[in-house]
Amino acid sequence: MNNTETIFELKIDETTKNNFKAVSLWAKINAVVAFISIGISIATIILTAGMIGADAAGSLFGQQFIAMSISILLNVVLLSAAKNIQKAVSFTDQGAFNKGLGELARYLKIIGILFIVASILVIIIFLFLLLVGGFGRG
């Protein structure tokens, strides 16, 4: 059976298309605002370098580098999802539609995995503090 051939009754009507259009618009806004935010963070580090010194600014940039990289990766995926969904709805492109939804799923998956990693880190830090506190008292 052809993969694109549908045997299900689930249909995409005009309301769905309009909602997908709005989703792609706002997803794009979110991604662009996130890129602007990263730009502002870099500008702030550069501008404060004069006050706190180049070494401290370099250290600050190093600390924020991972967060910025993750944010760029996430928002590139979101922007790609938004562009593909918009293209799919405008030109009735099934391939772009599936690709866009795939990117959206990937975006949510990355956030979910980041939450899991952050939770594990918080638990490890909490356990470490408990252990240090326990030994400190003993």
Binding site: T4, T6, F8, V23, N30, A34, I40, D93, F97, L108
Partner: protein
Amino acid sequence: MENIMEELKEDHLSGIDLEVDNETRDELHTASKWGRFIGIFMFVICGILLIAVATGGNAFAQILQAAFYNLGFVFAVDTALLVVTMFAAILFFAVSYYFLYNFSVKIKQALHEESTGHLNQGINSLKLFFILSGVVSIIGVLFSLYSLSIYL
């Protein structure tokens, strides 16, 4: 020329409509699974924050005041007002992640029951989630721009 080609392409495809094929179903299923996880995770975080603010609101307000001062906001902020603002912010986050959770639930229902109505409700919830996130992001960028302008 490019516009004419795009218009021709659009006309040519106007008879064909988008459909929910097997690949679309897989992608929607994955998105709904992770959306549900993120929604529940954020509800737990909001719950923890609500309890923290309710029990130690004054301490939180002082930390926020110090943070505002470091960002260059030199005006004094009332502690009670800050606590109320923190409650409002947590509720705002809870509501926005409720929409992501609702997206997941409705998409799952739509795939299970072959219901276009549920699909529309799900996508509408996703739209509202992105609108609320977008508004928060824009406010955040405006704050960052304000603190950046202090250094200029």
